[in-house]
């Protein structure tokens, strides 16, 4: 595994950071002040290809937003039945559920193209929510939408099974 290099990116302004955060579903309806508060605590890190930044089965406490580069989402990394299930590119994000729960990571994430991430840690996020409770409320809306979508999918599936 290649060593992760921590450094402050000089070319990302506060506006850029806010715009990137606004593109994340769980943050999209937050106010500029709330997004700026999140932007002020995110850490910027650069990673090199081949590096595994999330290992399946470990407990995670960070969310990653891809500023540039590409990562692969892998199930059973290093096992005989290893399978790549997705690719995540700039502007997309992963690991957001780690901010709310203590569950282990369900997949591994490997760097495919040199990446720059904005990383949000659970502790900073908890402190932000204390100061801006609206953040939690907006996230609840998104998560509730996700549950509703899942219900719809299950209902459709049940309907199809009944048809068969």
């Amino acid at each position: 595994m290649q060593r992760k290099e921590d450094r402050m990116a000089d070319d990302v302004t506060i506006s850029d950071k806010i715009m990137l955060l606004k593109g994340i579903e769980i943050f999209e309806s937050l106010s500029v002040s709330e997004l700026a508060a999140i932007a002020s605590v995110v850490e910027e890190i650069d990673c090199t290809p081949g590096e595994v930044i999330i290992q399946e089965g470990t407990v995670g406490d960070t969310m990653y937003l891809v500023v540039k580069g590409e990562v692969s989402v892998i199930k059973d990394l290093g096992e005989i039945n290893e399978i790549e299930i997705d690719r995540i590119k700039a502007g997309d994000y992963f690991g957001e559920m780690a901010l709310f729960e203590d569950a282990v990571r369900s997949v591994s994430i490997r760097i495919e193209e040199a990446c720059r991430f904005m990383v949000l840690h659970k502790q900073e996020f908890k402190e932000l929510v204390r100061e801006y409770p609206q953040i939690a409320l907006e996230i609840c809306k998104v998560l509730s939408g996700r549950i509703r979508n899942l219900h719809t999918k299950i209902e459709k599936r049940e309907f199809c099974n009944a048809e068969i």
Binding site: T13, I14, D16, I18, M19, S31, V32, S33, A36
Partner: protein, 310 residues
Amino acid sequence: MLAAKENEQVLPFILNGLYELGTAELNELALPYLSYNAEKVRHAALAIIEISSDEHLRKVIFMMGDSDENICELAKKKIETAPHQNTQLLVESLVIPNRKIRKGIFDLLESLNIKDLDIFRFAQNQVKESYQYLANAVSLEAFQETPSRTLLIDHFNEKMHLRIENILRVLALQDPSGEIKIIYRGLLSSDARKRSNAIEALEDMVDKRLFKIMLPLVEIHSPQESLNVGKKNFDLMELDSEEKKFFSHLLTDGDWVTTALTLNLIHDNKSEHIDHDVVIEFISSENKFIRKMAQRIIDQHAAEGGQDGG
């Protein structure tokens, strides 16, 4: 001594001892301990703080929301007997989304005998600020569309709505009938009829002068139409008055987000809207985003052949 880990158990005694010894700048030493984990330490820190400025008052107001009842009571007592009083700040703090703090403030408002006039002044100030935010947003439309411009306009519009919500929240808290709360819900509704009914009801509930100046901000008008009403009632700073003055006004808003985004906008527009002496002041800001953006403007100016090399 205060920072030494082995002294953690005796921190309350150290804080008290420093007070007894008449240590200079005790507030600066004690303030960080208001958020300490141990209740005894928070209590001891609060006990020795003297409220001598708005900043101290704000910190102590927040202590009324502490999980420990003794600390809440002490905070209340400290505000009541403080040498520095600011009833306007107390009324404004009613918008803090914390039930315990609001309860504490209401107790204080009763004991400090705050009149309806203070609430009216608070509401009037909030309306004036709303119009100023609207004027800022409208003025910024004149600039080339960039992320910083879009964010600043959104930011000012959000701040404008927040001020109106503040007024309604405070009025609702002051209204034992609960009608303002219902009106407040109606005004936030996406149903046009409910909004219109709420506006009608609001007219009957609040001071006529206040309603008249609030109406363009709660009814759906074009920003320019609303702003025209604002200009008739208040002296507002606009871009067309003087460009450099307008940007200085944005930079001194006191909100770091406004300052950082304004500097970003100045940079995007090749720094022609501001005196560089004003920007240089931000080089030593405590906020890293403001510092970084100010430095970029200075560098940009220097690269364009300006005299300030930063």
